[in-house]
């Protein structure tokens, strides 16, 4: 153990004997993405250890879920990853549908894909913008929010809410799209596509950005898997895993017929279906830059999926169907399902005793596992790297604390 530290080139000591200090980062800190509290043990600027303290946003949503019917719990899933509430709704709805062996209509299926992928774009936009903020540049944050607002406008039209939608629900969706929505959505995509280049110019390829992120917080493939990391964090480490492709049948069936390539580096390069900036020479697979870059790729990928979904959805005749009753009984048994939320694999587990109210619900949050790896990544980094590393994990405290 000691030798491992000995060989660590990042850890240096100066002749000047200095003392360590404990620094409290958060829960009211500009760059801890909500109410995360990190206790840093630092020696000057060098961080020797960090310890996350979570739970400031704990509401015990799982306990609440034991007192509500499955559909009544949907709004509580909204408040988990509140930046991508649609995906949370979807995860829970699919889990209950899995237990009930219920299949939604074809049209609802495509609408779900459409909404979920749009929500993924919105979430990654926040992740990208806030990451810029963590690194000290403010403008990309507002650029990202400018585009996100347009997505939220679309969502508002569809379901009336801008943050906590409860749109996708058990057995379908609460409402069909209003007329003209698809056109506005396509208009948004056409307008948004060229803007991604600007993001690349401002962040991805910016020399200072690369210096701040490349070879920082390198998360090895093995460590990522061992900690149960998922989503862009896992793919940023080069693990080719995406629940939309590798998940359970009920989830992958949703994406049946959709063409997309998992955004992961294989054989030294990323999928080349679009024009991407080259990987900088300093970047190492698994570092902050790659995690960020995977997110940027997924934005493009999701745009593709949204376009495909629009085509399929408009090709479907009929209605999306009605969602299940609020008090629909759930058959006895248990079901666990992981879906690919923007932040990672969001797992829901439902145990039923045959009544409408589940006996036990469980939310396995991706950010929870992603944050758990932060202490490993921050060992021996500088104070300025802590926001850079934690920011690259793109966590949402609502999801961690539940």
């Amino acid at each position: 153990m000691a030798s491992a530290i000995d060989d660590d080139p990042r850890i240096i000591e100066f002749d000047v004997r200095t003392d360590e200090m404990l620094v409290n980062m958060g829960p009211q800190h500009p760059s801890t993405h909500g109410v995360l509290r990190l206790v840093l043990r630092t020696d000057g600027e060098v961080v020797s250890e960090i310890e996350p303290h979570i739970g400031y946003l704990h509401r015990c949503a799982e306990k609440i879920g034991e007192n509500l019917t499955a559909r009544q719990w949907i709004p509580y899933t909204d408040r988990m990853d509140y930046l991508a509430a649609m995906n949370m709704n979807l995860g829970w709805a699919l889990t209950v549908e899995k237990l009930m062996k219920y299949e939604v209509s074809e049209k609802a299926r495509h609408l779900r894909v459409l909404i979920a992928e749009l929500s993924r774009i919105a979430s990654h936009l926040v992740g990208m913008g806030a990451y810029g903020l963590d690194l000290g540049t403010f403008s990309p944050f507002l650029y990202a929010f400018r585009e996100r607002e347009k997505i939220l406008d679309l969502f508002e039209e569809a379901c009336g809410a801008r943050l906590t939608y409860s749109y996708i629900t058990v057995g379908g969706l609460t409402a069909d799209l209003p007329p003209g929505w698809l056109g506005r959505c396509e208009a948004f995509l056409d307008q948004f596509e060229p803007i991604i280049k600007e993001y690349h110019a401002l962040l991805t390829t910016n020399a200072i950005f690369v210096k701040r992120t490349a070879n920082i917080g390198v998360l090895s493939r093995e460590l990522a898997i061992e900690y149960g990391c998922s989503g862009p964090v896992l793919r940023g480490s080069g693990v080719d895993q995406d629940m939309r492709r590798d998940g359970e049948a009920i989830y992958t069936a949703m994406y049946d017929g959709y063409a997309f390539e998992v955004a992961v580096m294989k054989n030294g390069h990323y999928p080349r279906d679009h024009e991407y900036p080259p990987v900088p020479a300093d970047a190492v697979l698994g570092d902050c830059w790659h995690r960020f870059f995977v997110r940027m790729l997924e934005v493009v990928q999701s745009m593709d999926l949204v376009r495909q979904a629009i085509d399929r959805y408009s090709a479907c005749k009929g209605t999306i169907g009605e969602p299940l009753k609020l008090t629909e009984k759930i058959p006895a048994g248990d079901a666990y399902l992981e879906t690919e939320a923007p932040k990672g694999q969001m797992g829901f587990y439902v145990v039923s005793d045959g009544t409408a109210i589940p006996w036990r619900v469980r939310a396995r949050s991706s950010s929870f596992s992603n944050l758990a790896v932060a202490p490993e990544l921050c060992r021996g980094c500088l104070i300025a790297d802590v926001p850079a590393i934690v920011g690259s994990l793109d966590i949402v405290m609502g999801e961690i604390d539940r």
Partner: protein, 176 residues
Amino acid sequence: MRGPDFLSQLDAALPGAIVGRNLEAMDPWIEIAPERIADVCQWLDTKSPVRFDALECITAIDWFEPDAKKAAKVSWQPHTELVYHLWSTAARVSLVLKCNLPRWKGDVPGQLPEIPSVCGVWRGANWHEREVYDLSGVWFTGHPDLRRILCPEDWEGHPLRKDYEQPLEYHGIRGK
């Protein structure tokens, strides 16, 4: 290698570890003797033909009905069930392990049931086990740093237990 073949391998490697199984369920599961869970996980992670290298989730289900009338009707005995959801990155398959624990150790209320920690197998289990301990009250022996994670350090009780009573007051904050 899937299904019964896989199970027989596990049984051969660790005889007596599997105490129950249900391969017809929606998510097929096997029940492991609680004291063997760490060994089983170790085997699954390192030696099994399908290496389960990721622990996705640990769930504790409190099978207890506080309402005496309803309790008379249920078919099960009160117990705490631990569910481990494993995932193999290479083979892209999942596995569900279940363990049945008594609600209280030695049926003495207040004594938390114990089960070996799997932190030595997956480091990611650390926080999951802390959460289960915090919310459901299961003591993981051999855990490096088992303390509350979501609730405050001085919180009393384990909220996800069915007989949990919400405190009326916490540091001057009204509870109900």
